[in-house]
C-alpha cells in the first residue's frame, strides 16, 4: 500500500476525505469547518470537494450541532460533527449523555445514532483558558457511547474510519498536542483500525504502562528512560478505545509483567485510571508484585498555560510511577 508521511491532523483530514468519497451519507458539520477548514484545519479542502450540503458551517451552538446530528443520523445520514475544543462540548452534554448515548436503548434498536463527534482535547499546547480539558471520563462513564482517542497518525485515520463505519455513537478525542507533533507513514488507501482493541506499542517484561492520547508520547519517553537509567523493561499499551476498553490485552500483559502503571492527562480523581486500576486489582491480584500506580494530573481545574507543565504528568513523573511499582 502506498502512503505518505502525515501528521495526525493531516491523517484525520485524509480519513474524513476517504469516508466522504466512499459513503455519500457521511457529512460534516460544525463551527468554522467549511471555508476556514476548521480551527485546526482538520476539514481543510473538504468544502471545495464535497460542497456545502456535506461540509456545513453551522450556527455557534453545540447543543444544536449535537442534537441535529442525532436527528440526521436517525434519519439515514452519517454525521461527523466537530466540536472546537473539549470544554465547549458541555452546552451539548445533555444531547450526548441523555439522547445520543441512549437512543438505541430508548427505542429498543428502532432508532440509532451512528455518528462520530470529533473533539480536540488535552493540554500542554499553550492554549488559552478552557481550551485544554481532558474530561474523557464524562463520556467513558456513559453507557452507549464508544470513546476513542488515537495517539498516532496511522491510528488517527484508521480509527476514524472505523468510528464512521460503527453503528454506535463514537466520541472521537483528538489530542491537540499531537496534531502536528510528528509524521509517520499513513497509507493512501481506505483501511480501518478496530475499535475496542488496545495496542502494545512497546514490548517489555517488568512492568505494564497503560496510556492513551497525548500522555502516550510521554509514556514512551518514560519507558525508554526507565530502561536506560534503571534497566527496567517497560511494556507500553496504547489503550486507543477508552470505552468499552480492551480488558483482555491489558490483563494478559499485567499478568505477564506483574506490575501496572497507568498514565493519563486527565486529573486522577475518578479519572479512567481509577477504573483500570480497580479492574486490574480484581482480575490480576494474584499476579501483582506491587499495587497499581496511577500518574495523572492534579485534582485541580486545567490551569493557564504557564502552570500546565506542573499540572500534567510528563515523562519524569511517569518514571517516578514506574519506580514506585519496581521498588515496592
Amino acid at each position: 500500500m502506498s502512503g505518505r508521511e502525515l501528521t495526525l491532523i493531516q491523517a484525520i483530514n485524509a480519513g474524513l476525505r476517504e469516508a466522504m468519497r466512499r459513503d455519500e451519507r457521511v457529512m460534516l458539520l460544525g463551527e468554522d469547518i467549511g471555508k476556514n477548514g476548521g480551527v485546526f484545519r482538520a476539514t481543510e479542502g473538504l468544502l471545495e470537494e464535497f460542497g456545502e450540503d456535506r461540509v456545513v458551517d453551522t450556527p455557534l451552538a453545540e447543543a444544536g450541532i449535537l442534537g441535529t446530528s442525532l436527528g440526521l443520523a436517525a434519519n439515514g445520514m452519517r454525521p461527523v460533527p466537530e466540536i472546537q475544543f473539549m470544554a465547549f462540548i458541555y452546552p451539548g452534554f445533555e444531547q450526548v449523555v441523555s439522547h445520543i448515548a441512549r437512543i438505541r436503548m430508548r427505542s429498543r434498536g428502532r432508532y440509532t445514532a451512528p455518528l462520530v463527534v470529533r473533539v480536540p482535547y488535552g493540554g500542554r499546547n499553550r492554549a488559552p483558558e478552557l481550551h485544554s480539558d481532558s474530561t474523557e471520563t464524562f463520556f467513558a462513564h456513559t453507557p452507549g457511547l464508544v470513546v476513542v482517542s488515537p495517539s498516532r497518525p496511522y491510528d488517527g485515520k484508521g480509527l476514524l474510519l472505523s468510528a464512521i463505519e460503527s453503528e454506535d455513537p463514537v466520541i472521537f478525542l483528538e489530542p491537540m498536542r499531537l496534531y502536528r507533533a510528528y509524521r509517520e507513514n499513513v497509507p493512501d488507501d481506505y483501511y480501518t483500525v478496530p475499535l475496542g482493541r488496545a495496542e502494545i506499542v512497546r514490548a517489555g517484561r517488568d512492568v505494564t504502562l497503560i496510556s492513551w492520547g497525548s500522555a502516550l508520547r510521554d509514556a514512551l519517553k518514560a519507558a525508554q528512560q526507565a530502561e536506560q537509567e534503571h534497566g527496567w523493561s517497560v511494556e507500553v499499551i496504547d489503550l486507543r478505545t477508552l470505552s468499552p476498553w480492551d480488558e483482555e490485552t491489558v490483563f494478559s500483559s499485567v499478568i505477564r509483567t506483574g506490575r501496572a502503571v497507568i498514565a493519563h492527562e486527565a486529573c486522577g480523581h475518578l479519572g479512567l485510571g481509577a477504573e483500570l486500576a480497580a479492574r486490574i486489582g480484581e482480575e490480576c491480584i494474584l499476579d501483582l508484585e506491587a499495587p497499581v500506580a496511577r500518574v495523572a494530573s492534579y485534582d485541580v481545574p486545567a490551569p493557564l498555560f504557564q502552570l500546565e507543565d506542573w499540572y500534567a504528568p510528563d515523562a519524569g513523573r511517569i518514571v517516578e510511577g514506574i519506580r514506585k511499582v519496581m521498588t515496592f
Binding site: 447543543a63 444544536g64 441535529t68 436517525a74 445520514m77 452507549g144 468499552p244 480488558e247
Partner: protein, 351 residues
C-alpha cells in the same frame, strides 16, 4: 397577534372548506379515543397498575387535529404528554400502557410508525426534529416533521437552537407549542415576558401562528398550511395553540396548590370535544346513538389493550443489556451472564 377563540356553541357555523365529512367525524372519534384512554391511564395509576403518568385531558384538539394533518411518512416528536398524538400517528395503546408501566417493551415503536421516543427532558427533542427534517431535505424526501413542546420548553436553550437551525437551513419542520399556560406550577408570565410564543418565530425568520387549541378545525387548518409550506421548501413554522390541562402535571401533583379551581372550570366550558361535537350535531353528522356506539367500541378497545399489557410475560433481565450497543461488548456480556447466573441461583433456591 391574538387568538381567534371560537364561541362555545357554533350551531350556525358553516362547514370548513377542504375537510370532508368523514374527516370531521374521524377527528371527533379520535379525540374521544384519546380522552377515554387518557382517563383509563390515570385510573390505572390511581389503582397502582401503572406508574406515574402525565394526563392529556384538555389537549385533545391540539394533539389529534395536528397529527391528523400528517401523511403516514411524516414524523411525530412527542413529549411525555402527547399520548394523543402518538395514538393517532399509529403507536398501539398496548405499547403506551407498557411504557407507563415501566416495561422496556413499551419503548419499542413499530417499524413504519414514524414517532420518536417520548422526550422526557424539556425541549431536547426539538434539535432532533430539526435534524430529522434536515436529513429528509438532504435525501430529497418530502417528509415533514411535527414536533410538540410546551410553553415551559420555550425557555430552554434547545428551543432557541432548534428554531435557529430550522431558520438558517430552511428545514421542513413544524414546531407545535401546546401552551397550557403552566409548566407544572409556574405560570406563563414567569416563563417569558414575551406576549406570545408565536412572536418568537420572527426572531428566527420563521412563520409564527396562534390558534385556539380547543378548536380542532382551527388546529387542523393551521398545521395543514404549515406542512404544505414545509413540504414545498418554504421552511419551518412555529404554531402556538392556546390550551389548558384540566388535571395535574402528572399523577404526582395537586394543581389546586398553584391554580385557581375556577380556571379549569371555565376552560371546560370550551372543551375541545364538546365544541366539536356541537358542530357535528349542527351539521347533522353526529347524534347520541352514534356517541353510544363509539363509546362502546372505545371501551372495548381500551379494555383489550389493558388485558394485553397485563398478560405480558414477566420482564426479561436481558432487556437491561440489549440495545445499549449494536453488539454487546465483553464487559456487558460478563455482567449480563453474572445477572443471569444470580437469578438462576435464586430460582434454584426458591424451588
Amino acid at each position: 397577534m391574538s387568538y381567534v377563540i371560537h364561541p362555545a356553541t357554533a350551531a350556525d357555523e358553516p362547514k370548513p372548506s377542504g375537510m370532508d365529512d368523514a374527516l370531521l367525524v374521524h377527528m371527533y372519534e379520535q379525540m374521544v379515543w384519546v380522552r377515554q384512554f387518557d382517563r383509563r391511564l390515570v385510573a390505572l395509576q390511581r389503582s397502582g397498575r401503572i406508574g406515574t403518568y402525565p394526563p392529556v385531558e384538555g389537549h385533545e384538539a391540539c394533539q389529534v387535529a395536528s397529527t391528523l394533518a400528517l401523511r403516514q411518512d411524516d414524523w411525530v416528536f412527542p413529549t411525555y404528554r402527547d399520548t394523543g398524538a402518538m395514538l393517532v400517528h399509529g403507536v398501539p395503546m398496548e405499547r403506551l400502557l407498557l411504557y407507563w408501566n415501566g416495561r422496556a417493551e413499551g419503548l419499542y415503536i413499530p417499524e413504519g410508525v414514524k414517532v420518536f421516543p417520548i422526550a422526557v427532558p424539556i425541549a431536547t427533542q426539538l434539535p432532533h426534529a430539526a435534524g430529522v427534517a434536515w436529513a429528509a431535505r438532504l435525501r430529497g424526501l418530502d417528509e415533514v416533521v411535527l414536533a410538540f413542546f410546551g410553553d415551559g420548553a420555550s425557555s430552554e436553550g434547545d428551543f432557541h437552537e432548534a428554531l435557529n437551525f430550522a431558520g438558517v437551513f430552511r428545514l421542513p419542520v413544524v414546531f407545535f407549542c401546546e401552551n397550557n399556560q403552566y409548566a407544572i406550577s409556574v405560570p406563563y408570565a414567569r416563563q417569558t415576558a414575551s406576549e406570545t410564543i408565536a412572536q418568537k418565530a420572527q426572531a428566527y425568520g420563521l412563520v409564527g401562528k396562534r390558534v385556539d387549541g380547543s378548536d380542532a378545525i382551527a388546529v387542523y387548518q393551521a398545521v395543514r398550511e404549515a406542512l404544505a409550506q414545509a413540504r414545498e421548501g418554504g421552511g419551518a413554522t412555529l404554531i402556538e395553540a392556546l390550551t389548558y390541562r384540566y388535571g395535574p402535571h402528572t399523577t404526582s401533583d395537586d394543581p389546586s396548590k398553584y391554580r385557581p379551581k375556577e380556571e379549569a372550570e371555565a376552560w371546560r366550558e370550551r372543551d375541545p370535544l364538546l365544541c366539536h361535537r356541537r358542530r357535528l350535531e349542527g351539521w347533522g353528522l353526529w347524534d347520541e346513538e352514534r356517541q353510544q356506539a363509539l363509546e362502546r367500541r372505545v371501551n372495548q378497545g381500551i379494555a383489550a389493550a389493558i388485558r394485553a399489557m397485563e398478560a405480558a410475560p414477566p420482564p426479561n433481565p436481558d432487556d437491561l443489556f440489549d440495545h445499549v450497543y449494536a453488539e454487546l461488548p465483553p464487559q456487558l456480556v460478563r455482567q449480563r451472564d453474572e445477572l443471569r447466573a444470580r437469578l438462576a441461583r435464586r430460582e434454584g433456591a426458591d424451588r
